[in-house]
Symmetry: C2
């Protein structure tokens, strides 16, 4: 299954909705970053939900797709955040 | 040359310094995201500079390394930001 890194920059009034949606499909790994494997059907569902929420002239979401997770190494400087338990 | 996606979550008082450093080596593509190819020597130099700036108990920088840029596809929802001209 393809692996995704998702980064976003969303206006304050919509950011919680975007996080709630991404949290249903991916792991929250840093303030503005989610990660995870996903099948194509679920991915399409996630994208459709996001398209309903975001303002297309102000907000920005990037999906970086890596075909094989092992083609991507992650190095951490400072702390590795575990955001999953933060209240939304 | 390996390709990097760099994401960060840095306290307000240090974030501009971190951006200035990353801007020397990578392209600023979203508020908290840089991208680019880099050789191992320059990468080490960049990391050394960041390690001097960040607070290791509060700040967080992730380097996602992709061996071949063509193994990574990018999909954009909303706007694709061009941050490079923003004043730092």
């Amino acid at each position: 299954m393809p692996y995704f890194i998702i980064t976003y920059d969303i206006s304050e009034e919509r950011v919680n909705k975007v996080r709630k949606t991404l949290k249903k499909y991916f792991m929250w790994v840093q303030n503005s970053v989610f990660e995870g494997e996903i099948g194509i059907g679920k991915l399409q569902q996630c994208i459709n939900e996001l398209l309903e929420i975001i303002n297309h002239e102000e907000d920005s979401v990037y999906f970086y797709q890596i075909d094989n997770r092992h083609n991507c190494a992650k190095m951490v400087l400072g702390i590795e955040k575990e955001m999953t338990d933060h209240f939304l």
